[in-house]
Symmetry: C2
Subunit: 114 residues, 2 copies
């Protein structure tokens, strides 16, 4: 069993992405070989790339206000306690549209974190 606190988990190098912070809360380094739980914090105005990849996302919004852009370019408002499933190869992107941090957990299979 591994127990830790979000605040003690180091941030990954996200210098290529403006206004995006990422922590790997639980993953292979903890012995978790099937499920990886990451935590993203987007600064106001910050966004993730509008992209796709060969693995799914299971997301739960934890804090703030934002949007997700779907494969048709449509924007969907997001707030705390909304959950999202993004299937393999589905184009998507997140953006902070609020005035504070926009935070969400994003769970992927291990191939999504290699």
């Amino acid at each position: 069993m591994v127990i830790k606190n979000l605040k003690d988990v180091p941030h990954e190098d996200m210098s290529a992405f403006k206004g995006v912070k990422k922590q790997i809360l639980i993953g292979p380094r903890d012995g978790s070989e099937e499920i990886v739980m990451r935590y993203f914090s987007l600064e106001p105005g910050g966004n993730t790339p509008y992209h796709s990849h060969g693995f799914p996302h299971v997301v739960k919004v934890e804090k703030g206000q934002g949007i997700i852009i779907d494969k048709n370019g449509k924007e969907h408002s997001l707030e705390c306690n909304q959950v999202i499933y993004v299937e393999d190869d589905e184009v998507h992107g997140f953006k902070n549209t609020g005035t504070g941090s926009f935070d969400f957990i994003c769970i992927v299979p291990p191939r999504g974190e290699n």
Copy 2:
């Protein structure tokens, strides 16, 4: 893409467990074939069985105060934003030790929800 709100997700039948509510936030019914995200709410005094099973848990505490009991019977205090990895076949149990609801998300592979 599936988008929904925690408050709109129906509760599963947990009548065999006193003081335990469970929702399947994202799972096979949403098309998610690799990852299942559940949400548990334990009433004050409520607890999950002290048990083990052949699949892992990835947990994040969302609300309230509780404990997890590890394989040695040791109790570990839990509060919001603590994360836990429970490996396959590791004995564990959760209990609400606070005065309000003790809520956590618990992610499993699909074999954990069949």
